[in-house]
């Protein structure tokens, strides 16, 4: 579904990723773990080309989505970002109401031409993240009136409404309480049935709970990527074992 091939990314002269080759099978959850600054977020931002809008970025290697390079001129970056949705822990709410947030992406995509069609799609996405019942009476209320957990699910719904093939989640449970975290994880579990998910997380336990395979990054390099059960029980690399057991990182 998604492959990175010897992906090296320099940001502002600093090598943030160093020859990362990663294969993400369709319909799976791939967790990316590693200490802060190891390149997890850079990897996500490279996969949907948000990174290329930063100044002084140089990318070597390739990223392939269903076999096609995302860096070719035939791949429109706006289409790519609809096919590969990105939800970050710090993703901002857009100004306006809950429904404004939901319909913005649909409107600019030009695929949902009528307001009615956009509202229907927005409702489907809100139901998918189990947010509809909580916000259906305040759709026209300000989005920033929602709780932190609801906001996080709203940003996920916003991305899901566009019908992505791949969903990139950058620490989606950061700063949330255990109940809200559990909701997010259940959602990931549900979404895996129809989506390919790449999950960056600072919680090793969360990676163990929700992912099918786990990639461990260290100083921009991919140390190991294997099925989650194997990586957490019999890792191939000593460094991986030290990290997942909390002896380093």
């Amino acid at each position: 579904m998604l492959q990175t091939e010897r992906l090296t990314v320099h940001v502002g002269g600093v090598r943030a990723l160093d020859g990362v080759s990663l294969d993400v099978p369709a319909g799976t959850v791939t967790a990316v773990i590693g200490p802060t600054g190891c390149g997890k977020t850079t990897l996500l931002r490279t996969i949907n080309r948000m990174i290329s809008l930063l100044p002084s970025v140089r990318i070597e290697g390739d990223v392939r989505l269903q076999g096609a390079s995302i860096f070719t001129s035939g791949m429109r970056v706006t289409d790519l970002r609809r096919r590969v949705g990105l939800v970050g822990a710090d993703t901002a709410l857009l100004p306006g109401s809950v429904i404004d947030n939901m319909t913005y992406g649909l409107e600019v995509s030009g695929q949902w031409r009528t307001a009615r069609a956009r509202l229907v799609r927005a409702e489907e996405a809100l139901r998918e993240v189990h947010l509809w019942d909580e916000v259906k009476d305040q759709l026209n209320g300000p989005a920033d009136g929602l709780t932190a957990g609801q906001r996080r699910r709203l940003t996920m719904a916003r991305a899901l409404a566009l019908g992505p093939e791949v969903l990139l989640l950058d620490d989606p449970a950061a700063g949330l309480d255990p109940v809200a975290t559990q909701r997010i994880e259940s959602l990931i579990y549900t979404l895996r049935q129809r989506l390919t998910i790449v999950l960056v997380t600072n919680s090793v336990r969360q990676a163990a709970r929700v992912s099918d395979q786990t990639a461990f990054l260290w100083l921009g390099r991919l140390v190991e990527c294997s099925p989650t059960s194997r990586l957490f029980t019999t890792p191939a690399e000593r460094l991986t074992e030290d990290y997942v057991t909390g002896r380093c990182g």
């Binding site: 809008l53 901002a92 913005y104």
Partner: protein, 395 residues
């Protein structure tokens, strides 16, 4: 320079340096005090200072000249220094306070959490971080203040070098002065808005944006006197006609353009980078993000900033046009303006006025002053940090 224009060039230089030093001390001190007073009092004081500081510097200079200079005082270097200091302090205090405010709250909180008091935070954290910008603001304010003061005298001396027909004529141009300036202003606003939008939202990553930033800051800080004095001979040489309403319109456009571009950029930069990022992550193009999100969010501050730019440019522009009209075609003016040149321009006691029949200095005589103004402005523009742009902070 005219014999009636008392200060010599060394006196102008000395007065400028003295005024810069005193103004810096007073303004920086006042701005630091604003950091230390209780928030409610600080808010009140800031409102007052911003109200005074927002007055265009040429108006401030005229007010200071009228209020502070006794009618029989000649304009010596020391008097010029006092006038310049009084002109600069309000605007400089406002700018220093604005610069100090850019040291973010989290940074101050972090220092406070480490046990630093308000004064030590101000002296060890805020002041050093803001120093280059403060230096730039001081030089820019100095150039503008000096330019504004000298406008009231040197410009007349400079225009006195030209023949009577070479001065601004209100009949010039096909459209007349009013419509022509309206057209020039509208066109300038449109072009400046597009330039501001391009630089704020479409130029990230370009290596030439910083030099252009400096040039725009430089042009916007250049005292109107420089534009006016240089414009007249340039227009005369290029168009082979005496300066007319077209020149006045061009002067207005030159005064308005850089200000308007900065105003647009300021309003766009205030839209958080995270909103743009959220929009782009949802597959919106740069243009869609601008149209659907950034422009609606920036519309109100943009209108407010542009109104300020138009007001400032108009107030800076009016004295020059009034001089030209009053000196060339008194009958074309309403009755109350016919004696403008004797009632206002030669302000009471200011021995700047050069009667049309009197021998006048040539342009080279004012060149050192213009050079000083351009030099101060250039250094100021270089020291001034780029506008608080989203460029480089957002994907």
């Amino acid at each position: 320079m005219s014999a009636e224009f008392a200060p010599s060039m060394p006196e102008v230089l000395g007065a400028t340096v003295l005024a810069l030093a005193v103004s810096l001390a007073v303004a920086a001190g006042a701005a630091l005090v604003l950091q230390l007073v209780p928030p409610a009092l600080g808010t009140l004081l800031r409102r007052v200072i911003r109200l005074v500081g927002s007055v265009p510097i040429v108006v401030m200079a005229a007010a200071v000249l009228t209020a502070l200079l006794p009618s029989d005082t000649a304009l010596s270097g020391m008097v010029l220094a006092v006038l310049l200091t009084a002109t600069m302090v309000p605007v400089l205090t406002m700018r220093c306070d604005g610069i100090f405010q850019t040291v973010t709250r989290p940074l101050r909180d972090a220092a406070a959490a480490l046990g630093a008091g308000a004064l030590s935070i101000a002296l060890t954290l805020v002041l050093p971080a803001a120093l280059p910008a403060v230096a730039g603001a001081v030089l820019a304010a100095g150039a503008q203040g000096l330019g504004a003061l000298l406008t009231l005298g040197v410009l007349q001396a400079a225009t006195g070098t030209l023949s009577d027909t070479a001065r601004l004529s209100p009949e010039g141009g096909t459209f007349g002065l009013g419509p022509l300036v309206l057209i020039a202003g509208t066109t300038t606003l449109a072009v400046s808005t597009l330039i501001g939008i391009y630089f704020e939202d479409f130029s990230e990553g370009s290596s030439w944006t910083r030099p252009v930033d400096v040039v725009i800051a430089w042009l916007s800080a250049l005292p109107p006197l420089v534009y006016a004095v240089l414009l007249v001979p340039v227009v005369t040489a290029v168009r082979c006609t005496p300066p007319d309403a077209w020149s006045a319109a061009l002067l207005f456009a030159l005064l308005l353009g850089p200000q308007a571009a900065l105003a647009v950029r300021g309003a766009l930069a205030a839209v958080p980078a995270s909103l743009r990022e959220a929009s782009r992550a949802l597959g919106a193009s740069r243009r869609q993000t601008l149209r659907h999100l950034v422009l609606p969010a920036a519309a109100r501050p943009m209108v407010r900033h542009l109104t300020g730019a138009v007001t400032r440019a108009t107030l800076e522009w009016l004295p020059f046009v009034a001089i030209g009209i009053a000196m060339t075609s008194p009958p074309a003016l309403p009755a109350w303006m016919r004696t403008l040149d004797t009632r206002w321009m030669p302000l009471p006691g200011i021995p700047f006025h050069v009667p049309a029949s009197a021998p006048s200095p040539a342009l080279p005589d004012v060149a050192p002053v213009i050079g000083l103004l351009v030099g101060l402005t250039t250094v100021a523009a270089w020291l001034t940090p780029a506008p608080d742009s989203n460029r480089g902070r957002r994907p």
